[in-house]
Homo-oligomer: 283 residues x 2
């Protein structure tokens, strides 16, 4: 695996490659788990050259969020990426990403305001901006994003379409641990008792999918059921429970066709999110 750690080398390499090969890209913040590796495998399947990036993007963290203690382990990440036959690890330094005087931001207006955007002000501007930057460096034909971060995926898809970025976004299904907990670098913060409580999130997904399958369409009722389930153990603090339009992310009153159930909770000091499609023949 080749490691590239300057923007200039990445762009020159990408320019040379792009003429002959299809470039597949998986941007990450490192501390890789099976969820990331599944994205890398998908990129490898769809492209000739696979690039993964590791960059803990400061501008998507709020002032009270966990930037400083965000877990990092570059050696381990590199071994895992080697095992997956990643061709290039792009590991840009902070100074090149956000030099002195930095002031440009990409806003996907409206989509930023819902779900996690309610509490994580500026988060999705930070995400859209860094992804725009990385796309300009790696110049991929395809880029794979996990459905676990559903709002992020929706925003990136909208940005790519609106700004005519010449890259195809490939959504990849959420990878889950045994028991259904969605894989996340932040799971590492959970004690084993907390991890047990976190299983309620997946239980709420299965419950809502089941209710919709048996004919329930009333969003309010479905959300109440989710809240009831999540609150059935102490220490699961609900940040939001939402049933929304898959594209606009606006809350819907009823699950007519397809809708996204999205949820954010805090268990101890750890914030966990998850989501799943309801209706539209989802089983």
């Amino acid at each position: 695996m080749r490691v590239i750690d300057t923007v200039k080398e990445m762009q020159e390499t990408a320019d040379k490659l792009r003429g002959e090969k299809r470039i597949g890209f998986v941007p990450t913040m490192g501390f890789l788990h099976e969820g990331h590796l599944a994205l890398v495998r998908k990129a490898r399947e769809l492209a000739d050259v696979t690039v993964a990036s590791i960059f803990v993007n400061p501008i998507q963290f709020g002032p009270t969020e966990d930037l400083a203690k965000y877990p990092r382990d570059l050696d381990r990440d590199m071994k895992l990426l080697e095992q997956e036959k990643t061709d290039i690890l792009f590991y840009p330094p902070y100074d090149e990403m956000y030099p002195k005087g930095y002031t440009t931001y990409v806003q996907v207006r409206g989509l930023e305001d819902y779900l996690c955007g309610q509490t994580r002000k500026g988060h999705f501007v930070g995400v859209a901006t860094v992804v725009a930057k990385l796309f300009n460096m790696v110049k991929p034909h395809i880029a794979v994003f996990g459905q676990k971060d559903y709002q992020q995926l929706t925003i990136i898809e909208r940005m790519v379409k609106d700004l005519n970025m010449d890259v195809r976004i490939i959504p990849y299904p959420t990878v889950r641990e045994e028991g259904g907990l969605a894989m996340s670098s932040r799971n590492t913060y959970l004690s084993s008792a907390e991890r047990q409580k976190a299983l309620l999130i997946y239980a709420s997904i299965k419950r809502l999918q089941e209710l919709v399958k048996t004919g329930e369409t009333d969003s309010l009722l479905l959300k109440e059921e989710a809240r009831r389930l999540l609150a059935s153990e102490n220490g699961v603090n609900i940040e939001y429970v939402s049933i929304s339009d898959p594209e606009t992310l606006e809350e819907v009153d009823s699950v007519k066709d397809r809708a996204v159930y999205a949820v954010a909770v805090r268990i101890g000091k750890t914030r966990l999110i998850d989501n799943a499609m309801l209706g539209g023949g989802v089983t």
Copy 2:
């Protein structure tokens, strides 16, 4: 000259070209004049393939501005571009530029607030956004922008640097009519009496450059002199007179090294802007 009028064809063409040739780009809103043609010639000089685009970008016009009556003459523009041996005219349709649900904007914070940004709210978000889009379509190695729109040029340069767009911005000196009036598509609105008054703008530039050359550094005094000169005929309404830092566009108290004198006036219904460098050995 090849005319391309879909985003898809432009991107496929650019992708093919980019491997072998250097692409030079001049984005315009049409109604071309000698100022634009000088940019095209510069692009031809620096690149192998020259692309000019014509698109009157609605999102950079305010609700009370002159979008509907902005002058257009595609046939004439095409003839002029042919004469300059332009290789490709890119003429994207509105529906492909801003489809239903469009919601993504590029903000170059801070730089947008000064000079024209004070009265033209949202203008430079519109400019940065459309240029980002056009760059993603045309994929140029270089793009030529006139110094006449100094704030626009500064914002584009900052955006390109911040978002790591792989394109080099080439600034081109303001092209002037006999008497010194900066070329602009909007000059076509001026009556001959108004055109005469408009010469005061260039007179104020020459006067300030002369004062600085002879040792004057006090911005307040220089700006007063500019205002006095511009007001020496009736019907020249000053919108702003500014002496600012060439990169941050912040007002400076004194012209120590280099500073930009920028001016916007209204003559009748026509808004005219101009600028020039003061100090730093400019003659």
